[in-house]
Amino acid sequence: MNAVRALLLVVAVAATFISAQTNDTRPPIKIGFMVPLSGGNAQNGRDILNGFLMYLDEIGYRAGGRQIELIVEDDEAIPAVGLTKARKLVERDEVHVMAGALLSSTGYALAPYITSMKIPMVYPVVSADDLTQRRRSEWIVRTGWSGSQPNHAFGEYAYQKLGIRSVVTIALDYAFGWESVGGFERTFAAAGGRIRQKLWVPLSAHDFAPYLAQIPRDVDAVYALLLGRTALQFMRQYEEFGLKGRVTLIGGGTTTDEHVLPFMGDEAIGTVTALHYSAALDTPANKAFAATYRARFKKIPSYYSESMYTGGKWLIAAINAIDGRVEDRAALVEALRRVRPSDLPRGPMELDAYGNPIENVYIRRVERVNGELQNTVIDTFPRVSQFWTFDPDRYLSEPLYER
Amino acid sequence: MSGSPGTPCLQLERVSRHFGGLKAVDDVTLTVEPGARHAVIGPNGAGKTTLFNIISGEFPPSSGAITLDGRNVTKLKPHQRAALGVARTFQITRLFPELSVIDNVLLACAALDRRKFTMFRPLSSHGDFMERAGRLLDQFELSNVRDERARHISYGAQRRLDVALALAGHPRLLLLDEPMAGLSTPERVAMRGLLEQLDPSIAVLLIEHDMDVAFSFAARVTVLHQGKVLADGSRDEVSANELVQQAYLGGSVNS
């Protein structure tokens, strides 16, 4: 009995000592975070989480004078599960702020709940255009991108700089694919280019032969918007079909993103894509980020990895800006829209009035450097808005990009 | 429903059934009078069970016509023939093994009643069903196992239950496919007793291997051989028939 009492005493003293040392009078800031950690999207989810963990480590899990407690949940890439997890984080864990989500469907499903509960949330990846356009929420801040955003820039670039006049697109058949192709088509056609054909492939596609066989050989370029396994398979078959070297391959950034690039071979070399990030971006901030990330996680950071490093930096900057008073949620969300942390791996960024980043779009070409494939940045469109050069009101009165 | 006086209960006219090259039932013409006790005998493979399947509608004949009470039923499905009064038992007992004995009988009682579609009222609240099922259980000495699952009762009780199910719908024609098969001697005696007490207005067509049973139960006998009718007539005519003697009965009457 005495031994137990003694032990309790020691624990009590130690606790007092520790709390005195950290000088925390306020309880920790609870951040709820969710991404898919199981199933087919787990790898991307893991990358996003890694970026966040890395940033939180850098700041020692402290912000605004308070300790940070991170609560991680797996949304399984199923919207209803995401909503259940959001409810758990908000109603049970009573988090002050939320971050995460990968898929647009989850993003859309969460939005009404986030809005009704008045919980500030950061979307680092979800790229569905309308989330910061016609269906935006004042409680959601996007630190990633909108699907059509880099493609507006890329459509123009393809016509003017790459000299491409006719294109066949081949893209995943869901909102992300439609918005990417839609954005590309809009500026490419406006410049004078012609989309000869749009091929849509199901997310479950295993064989691209039926699609590749439809591509006319006299077209200037093929625009591919793919992800993960489909991107790998497509690259291989593009070469097998004898298209590589004969028809220029361009595409959306995910097609050659670093989550798949290390698994590709020489067949990927020369592919030109557009995105707001490249692991090969030659800036001090990115070099430091990429080197640390590689050392810690033993792989090249993907755009997913960078997304929540930057998203985390953004969130922490906002918390610092209000001295950690996260209980004032309106102030927090206002700060999220106002702050402008510098030295981001992806370069300068600010948020527009709709909660979407204005950021650089990089034109990247796949090259082999020091034995490794990388997305070498060959051109930069600075400060690209989700509305490109169009008038926001007019843009929003037009329909969303569809098939 | 029932035909005019003198109309046979069941009439088969030149009915055949082929399975590929095999003529399982070959040009059979047969008449069963209302209330008749009629046996069909013949060696294994003579086509007796196939004949029953054709009568009950399990499958259609390749050619020929089937008439019930003067009505042509050749194209009708089993449940439609059951509605016209055809009931049968099976050589290998066909019960509802996971249901209780009483539920087995209740199902059979409900089969020809419109209330089988009643969805939101428990069956147990239908007093007349319960009463009729109770009477059948008493009649077939199954009351003591009424709540047992059908698969757990003795083989003899299962055979009796099979017959009780067939009788629950008040059939006009009852097809019994070897009801004695596999029974012990006391069970056979009991089953014979039950068969002899059947309502005389029901026409019974019986397949039986046991000649004693067939000839004592049935006034009329049809002998099938390789799918064809070898003989057809009163039991005395048939037992005196030379062809039958040669082909079938010779020496094996007491098998």
């Binding site: 797996d74 469907s105 058949d173 | 089993p78 059951a82 249901l99 199902l107 009643d113 428990p122």
Partner: protein
Amino acid sequence: MAEPRATAPDWRLVVAGLGAVFLLAAPPFLSAYWVGLLTQVVILGILAMSLDLLIGYTGLPSLGHAGFFGVAAYGVGILSTTYQAGVVASIAGGFIAGTGLAALLGLIVSHVRDVYFLMITMALGMVLWGLSFRWIPVTGGDNGIAGIPRLETLIGLPATGPIPFYYLALVVFAACIVLMMVLVKSPFGLTLQGIREHEPRMRSLGFNTWLHGYLSYVCAGAFASVAGIMWAYYNGFVSPTYLDLTASSELFLMVTLGGPATLVGPVIGAGAIVILKNVMSAYTARWLLILGIVYIVTILWAPQGLWNLGRHRRS
């Protein structure tokens, strides 16, 4: 009439009684999160019971059952957002969509049995999923439809939030379980079990077994629609994942885990899976593995499902 054999009070009675008391009395003392999980349990419980009508009673193993659930949910989602329909019209529309679809597809599927039934229902389920995914102008495609208003407000409950919605769902659940329990004890319900046990014998007794099988499919579709309507209001959005193959097979798992042909068993199965999923996944990303182990253990130790533990086994 003879009394059923006297037995000691079954543990099932005790568990069911405790469960009912818990569902009724516990929520005010639970956090909103747990109330939300219980709401999921009762809604998915309705869905699992509806599938049990098919699997357990009629003996038709459907792998596309989430289709009706999803179509009813889409009915509510589309009517209440795109068309701004009232609550009665939205609910009626969802119910008619799900049940009507079951009545239509039933014409196709109820001609086949066993593994063929499994395959054709799976195929139809995938067609429905494809439709929800591809018919973008109506369904919103992959993104689904969000912004379904709250049911508590629509029907004029004095309070909104997790607890009022929970009790609303519980009332619907209670009505469904009572209706289904009467249904399986009804003459019609017995005919379904007869089909499961021996369909040819049913035919020779005079049952048009096709019709009974078809009607059971429609009934199951109707109850699944009720669950789908509640699910749409619970989540406030609809998406193709409601009716994909994963949803249908998880549902299948709830029924087989809990015990087919018991109604209560599938509710327990739904409860076990919802709770396991949410509690386990807070601790490990490998919760699917744990669910798999639970399932294997159940198959080995209680092959007839949890609710049939200690009962006679079917050969």
